[in-house]
Structure formats: C-alpha cells, structure tokens
C-alpha cells in the first residue's frame, strides 16, 4: 500500500505540478477580474493568446535563433503574460466602458482567440516539409531543469526541484503575491469593494471603472502567463488550443470561493484528478480498483458539480459580480 502511494509521487511531480501551476495561475487571474465585479469566462481565450504569443517568441529565440532555452522560456512567459493583458483589454473595454453583457463579450474573446492565432500562424509559418502554411508552432524541446543542491532535499526536492519548470517557481511566487495583495494592500481591498458594492466604493471616492480595468488587466496578465506556462509544460508547441484548461480554471475559481489559498487547494485537487485521468492504469493503487476508464475521465467534472452543489448554499461570490456599473443608479 505504501509502495503504491509512493508510486504516485512520480507522475504527480512530473505532470501534476505543472498542470496545477497552470490551473492556479489562470484561476488567480480570474479572481482579480471577478473580485472586481466582472465575470471573466474569457480565461480560455486569453490562455490561447498567451500560449500563441509565447510560442512565437520561443520559436523565434530557439528555432530561428540560438538563444539559451531557459532565457527563451523567460521571454516566452513574459510575452505571453503581456499578450494576455493586451487581449483582455477588449473585454475590459466592452464590459466596463461600454457596459455590455460580460458573458457575451468574454464569449467573443473565447471564439476570437483560436481564430486569430491560427490565422496569424498560417500567415507567418510555412512547414518546410509540406511547403504549406501551418498553424502549428512546433517548439519541441524539453524545458525541464534540475535545480542544483535543492533537488536533493527529500520529498520536496523530488516534487519541486527535479525535472522542474521555471514557471513552477513563478507560479508559486504569484500565489504568495496575490494572497498578500488581497489580504494586506489597498489595491486588494479596493478591488474587493468594487466587486461587493461598487456604489458604496464610488461614494468613498474610488474610481470603480479604473479598479475594474485593473482587475481585468491583471486577470489577462495571469491567464496569459498561464497559457504560456501550459505551452512549455507540454512540449509539442502551439496548435490553437489549450484543451479546456481555462474553463477548468473557472471551475476551480468558483470551487475555491474566490479566495487565493482555497483556489490553490482546489488547483492541487484538480491537477491530481487530471493526472489520474490519464494514468489510472499505470498506477497500482488505481489499477487494482478495476474501474472502467470512463469513471476516471468524468471524475474532475463530477467533482466540480458535487463541490458546486455543496458550496452553493454558502456561496461567497462577489455580490456585484456580473453587473455593469452604472454611476447614475447610485
């Protein structure tokens, strides 16, 4: 039994941790937007944009030119984050400035992102073998690295510092920063106040529009970073999709009741499920249960439904979420 549990460590370290970081980054992104009162189901689309721009930068640095891999990763992550932020500006403009329906504008982003990225890729990239335009940006290198000394720490070294991604540490850093921002800083409290009672916030001199803009842009930044992280974690390059991880992040955000630490916990749980989903028949612990594969495949989604059902009674969603702010109604 203990052996069977220890056997779990390996896939969790190799795939669970990167998936967890991606889910957490994107969910924390959603947190900024939703806490400021703007629903953001555009996370999936923003991730696609982040992954796309990150892929272009990494392709340029490692395939076209010969920069060191990890340097390319750094620039790829930064550019992915910036791209996500710029892209989310459209959502901010539509839902804050123009007071449009937040679901509609976010859906537009979700539909637009894969289309524009595939179109742009096809404009710029020619597959040398087929001599035709391609929408795949292949950057098939392994971006994993071992951290000297730290990788020998028992358990933790295996989890975090062996075959790790640079993005893992960035992700954990982001978690700490986001937690502090929401607990301790003025900006965090302002964002929350705009999500709970924007009219009250406005009466106290807070510019609701500005704060909501900041919330959405930060969510774009983190979702874009998450998209680029996803790209380097599974190294087949960009092919126009992030396989639904953006929507899963949304589920994590809601399950985590819009609280950073809880979001982290649920990201861990979902990442674990994600690994089990494709590895159940490689792990003695689960193989011996001889359940049909469909059970494992639906587990994350069933779990989402169950968790939402349980927490829906005491849901702590921001009170003003989804409502365009109209100063004249004060």
């Amino acid at each position: 039994m203990i052996e069977a549990i220890l056997q779990l460590l390996n896939p969790i370290a190799a795939y669970g941790v990167p998936v967890m970081i991606v889910l957490m980054l994107v969910a924390l992104g959603g947190l900024f937007s939703e806490r400021s009162g703007v629903v953001n189901i555009a996370l999936e689309g923003i991730m696609v944009m982040g992954g796309f721009v990150g892929a272009m930068v990494i392709y340029y640095m490692t395939v076209t030119h010969d920069y060191p891999l990890q340097l390319a990763v750094v620039f790829g992550l930064i550019s992915g984050a910036v791209a996500g932020m710029v892209f989310s500006l459209a959502h901010a403009f539509a839902s804050v400035t123009m007071n449009s329906n937040q679901i509609i504008s976010a859906t537009a982003l979700n539909l637009f992102a894969p289309a524009i990225s595939v179109f742009t890729a096809r404009t710029f990239y020619i597959n040398p073998a087929t001599r035709q335009a391609t929408d795949k940006i292949i950057i098939s290198a392994s971006y994993r690295l071992n951290i000297p000394f730290l990788q020998h720490i028992p358990v933790l070294g295996r989890f975090l510092f062996t075959n790790a991604f640079l993005s893992t540490f960035i992700g954990l850093g982001v978690l700490v920063v986001v937690t502090i921002v929401f607990k301790k800083t003025r900006l965090g409290l302002r964002i929350q106040s705009c999500g709970e009672n924007p009219h009250a916030a406005d009466s106290l001199g807070i510019n609701v529009y500005k704060v909501r803009y900041i919330g959405i842009l930060l969510s774009g930044l983190l979702a874009g970073l998450g998209g680029a992280t996803y790209l380097i974690s599974f190294h087949n390059g960009f092919d126009g999709t992030v396989h639904g991880l953006g929507f899963l992040s949304l589920a994590i955000l809601i399950s985590g009741q819009w609280k950073p630490v809880r979001v982290f916990v649920f990201a861990v749980v979902f990442a674990f499920m994600y690994v089990i989903q494709s590895q159940y028949d490689s792990l003695a612990l689960f193989r011996n249960l001889t359940l049909p594969r469909q059970i494992y495949q639906m587990m994350p989604y069933v779990m989402t439904l169950v968790i939402l059902a349980i927490f829906s009674k005491e849901s702590q969603a921001p009170k003003a979420i989804g409502e365009p702010y109209d100063a004249s109604k004060r």
Partner: protein, 369 residues
Amino acid sequence: MKKLFLFLLAFGFMFGLAACGTRDDDVEKTKIALITDYGDIDDESFNQGTWEGILAYAEQHGMEIEYFRPAEVSDADYIDSIDLAVELGFGIIVTPGFLFQRAIYESQNTHPDVKFILLDAQPRDATGNFVVGPNTLSIFYDEHESGFLAGYAAVMEGFTNLGFMGGIAVPAVVRFGIGFIAGAYYAALQEEVELVFPNNRYDYLGTFNAGPGVETQAAGWFDDGTEVIFAAAGGAGLSVMSAATDKDAWMIGVDVDQSGLSERVMTSAMKALAASVQLALDSYYIDEDFAGGETWYLGAANDGVALPFETSRFETFTEAQYNEIFALLADGTIEVPATYAELVAFFEDLDILDLLLIEQDTVSPPPSG
C-alpha cells in the same frame, strides 16, 4: 403567397443550375488536389506522407497542387470539399483516409471526368456494398505486416515490455496493432524471452491529435515499466515522443519515417504512401491509362510496407535479421494476421495462445452509441 412561389421558383432554378454545373466538369488533368479526412497535412504521418509524395511528384513533373481541409468530419463536408476542388478545375483528387468511403462513392458518380485515388478504403454505397468506380483507384496497405515488423524488431532489439497506442480504431490502425502483437510474440518465441504486454497496454486514444492527456498517459506507461510504445496515432505520436524524451524510453513511429522528429524514435512502421500515390499518378500521366476500377493491396510482397533501416536506432537488431524476416513476409511463409480471429489462430498455430493477454474488445472495440 405569390412572393413565396417566386422565391421557391428562384430557389429551384439555382439548384437546377448547380446540378447542371456538376454534370459536365471542366477540369484540368495537370491539377492535383489532396483532401484530408481528419487533421491537417502536417500531421507528421498519414496525411503528410501522402502530401509529400504528391509534392515531390508535382515538382518533378510541373503539376499544380493544392490541398483542402473539410470544415468538419462528415460526409457532407467531404463532398463539399470535393465539389469545390472540382469547381476549381482539379482533375485528379487524392483522398487519404478510411472516412472517405461514402463521400467518394457519391463523388465518383457525380464527377465522372475526375479521377479519384482513395487510400485505406473502397467507395461504399448506402447499403454497405463496395463499388470501385471506373474513375477511382483504391489503395490498401498491409499495415499488419508493417506492425509485425515493428513488433518483431522491438523484441529482437531486446525489449520485452511493450505497449501499443492507436489513434482511433479505424481498420488501418487496428491492423497495425494486431500485426504488432503478432510480430512481438513471434520474436519472443524465437528468442525464448517472456513478454510483458498486458491488456491495459493496448489502447486507442480516441484522437489523432497531440495533447497533454496522451503525453501523461504515455509517461505513466513508461514509469510503470513499459520500454517501447508503438504509437499508430498520427500527430498524437508527438506526445508519445515527448514522454519518451522525458523518460529516456523508446517509441515506434508510424506511416512515414519519423526518426527526424525525436531522438527517441527507435524505428517507424512505414507504409508506402508516397510511393504508391506516385505510382498511381504515373499510371495516369505516363501510361495514360488510369488504373480506375482497380484496388491495390500493397504489402511486403510488393514493397508496400517497410521499416526505414538506415535511420532506425537499433543496436542489436541487424539488417540481415531484418531482411530475413522481411523475406518471410514477402514470400508468404509467415501469414501475418489482420483481424483478431486471425490473431488467435496465429497464436494457436504457434501453440502460445495462453500468452495472448490482449482481449478482443480491446483490439476491436464494439461500436459505441
């Protein structure tokens, strides 16, 4: 009411015109189109192998080529793409893919002036009869022989812990898998080694596309002791390569020589996509006698399958051994099974039926829904 009538009249007129348009096609012989059934032409395997064959041919003979990708995976969309290609004047249309069997049946009748080269399938009418029209050439490959060679090579190379990942259980992929099992056990019997190839190491992924799920699953198999995975899964093979790279394990590619894609590609179970299409084009352009109405079956006997020995990363399996086993397939001494029933018979003949752990439902899953 009157307006409605006029509208219907105009509508009917348009359809009438469209119907006229398809009856007498104005196509050019030197324009070759390829239409994909699933995925893009840069899938690094089936579609791309076919495309590269056409590309090389076109460059050599100065033909005009283009490829089309239907909007969705459906007969209606396939037919739309074919109609579009015909409208643009393409005189010869190559359709790699089993899923084209219905669409080509329809199109070979509506476009009698257009030549069709259908790979992996025969045109099939609504009642399930196969009808290869006079303007259609069907080409099948003996994937089971290719898979056999791959399985044989893997075991002769010293690997005993094997896995198979197919894309979707279409006939060609199933044949690759069955051949792989047969080849592996044939070599194991010959070398007197014991194989680990349980039922849960034979799987259809449900996709031909790369993705994190495939990579994670392959990594799990490798962690659990699998040494080689044969991935007959188109682009999803890239994910298996990624996992093999991370785990320092091996994978076997499919359809075309995939050795250039990763250092961890041991060999590739090839089928002669490019060569066969070029042969078919030759029959049209050089012999001026298109092999319409025919069905070609290409296997070891007529160079339809092979392992790319030059680029394979074998250490103990020698070219002499490869040529030996290839000759046995080519002259029919070994009849490689192509269906599960034949696989069972194959194992019975070798008297090792008790070693076959992979079940019928795993290999040929019952059609769902």
